[in-house]
Amino acid sequence: MKKIAIINYGLGNLSSVYNALEFIGADPFLTEDHKELEQCDGAILPGVGAFGDGMAHLRDNGWVDAIHEFALEKQKPFLGICLGMQLLASSGTEHGDFDGLDLIKGTVVKLVTGDRSARIPHIGWNSVSGTDGKKSYVDIENGQDFYFVHSYVLEPEDDAVVSGKCSHGKEFIASVEKDNIWGAQYHPEKSQKSGLAYLQNFLKV
């Protein structure tokens, strides 16, 4: 059974992620102590809230170096969900300019749809496409619906890291996959069957 750390940095829907992992047969545990990453096979960075706040919480608790060591040096599976995915970026622009974890080169910007009928925040189920051949979408049909709740999006510099795209007024990046480092803008833990399948794939990294 894979031991997966869920990073508790004060922001997030932790128990939902925990429950989903347990349901698919992983051994999840919540941790506030970055030293505990050492005993884990993988880690998830959840998160609900603002970019600057999220980074401040990570920095204050010594997570930034620990995550770099875990995901970059040791190349262990690392998944960011929602704000957690955005924090993977080099920088964010929500309420000011902030540095991110810089695990995925790119910037987090406000989703501007330019279309009044495409309301912001983007809340609800929307289809994710362009997923064929991606490790994170094995056994998930292209175009499946996932549950989104967000106003900002990650714009990666390198298209090669994009694992799924979505459209709301305009096209944006729904998920990224760079070797062992994954990010989902939607909530797999809330996306019923498709979401659980995504997490299942993460356990196989």
Partner: protein
């Protein structure tokens, strides 16, 4: 494309569902987990729990309930009722809620919405508005608090715009004139609010037929529709509601 959501709402008192689904296969109709599972299996897009206990003890109870539901059902949940402190919001989100709905506390102290949106992210702050036609007969709708018992003199459309400016991520709009009447949403109210803000608006209050759901979206311009009794009493399933919406040309998740 973003799908239009159908959201069943459950009233919760002391951790138990008050108006439950009267389905034969349910062992305990008051058990929120059982109810949530039914709606989950029927393909509901979100669940909304409204805590009508709203006491201090009730707060811990609702958190346990959210934990129990989140333990078994992997779908989005909004929880409302008596939320007046940031700690309430944090605890509910940690327990597995995705959004919280704030009503009376927003009217009492509008800055609370600002603070909540700043600290917890605006996408998880829903402002619930209970509105009915102005009593003096003038045009428009007035908002009410405390479960509809207390008038405020505040115009519903102006309030929605202000709450969106303060950082609300969504408006849950209930027409009190229509609530429980099964005559359909108050469409002029729904459309007036939906057209005035750029955040999503959930229409609520008055649904009696599946056509009413369609009207809420097509004529009321709502982003999501919420209903209680037509689902509770098994008159229609969520799947039937979705089919009716799809037949009317509305994009839904099937």
């Amino acid at each position: 494309m973003l799908k239009t959501r159908i959201i069943p709402c459950l009233d919760i008192d002391k951790g138990r569902v008050v108006k439950g689904v009267n389905f034969v296969d349910i062992v305990d109709a008051g058990d929120p987990v059982e109810q949530a599972k039914v709606y989950n299996d029927q393909g509901a897009d979100e669940l909304c729990f409204l805590d009508i206990t709203a006491t201090h003890e009730g707060r811990d109870t609702i958190i346990h309930m959210v934990e129990e539901v989140a333990d078994e059902v992997f779908m989005p949940m909004t929880v409302g009722g008596g939320i007046s402190e940031i700690s309430h919001i944090r605890n509910l989100l940690n327990a597995g809620a995705d959004k919280v709905s704030i009503n009376s506390a927003a009217v009492k102290n509008p800055d609370f919405v600002k603070e909540a949106a700043d600290k917890c992210g605006n996408q998880c702050i829903v402002v619930a508005i209970d509105a009915k036609a102005k009593e003096d007969g003038s045009e428009g709708w007035e908002i009410f608090t405390h479960g509809g018992r207390k008038g405020t003199g505040i115009d519903a459309v102006e309030w929605a715009v202000r709450m969106a400016e303060y950082g609300a991520g969504e408006i849950l709009l209930t027409s009190m004139d229509r609530d429980g009447t099964k005559q359909g949403f108050n469409l002029p109210l729904t459309r007036a609010v939906s057209d005035a803000v750029s955040i999503p608006v959930i229409a609520s209050g008055g649904v009696g037929t599946l056509d009413h759901l369609v009207d809420g979206v097509k004529e009321g311009h709502a982003s999501a529709v919420l209903a209680a009794s037509i689902f509770h009493f098994g008159e229609y399933t969520i799947a039937e509601a979705k089919q009716a919406m799809a037949d009317a040309g509305i994009e839904v998740r099937i």
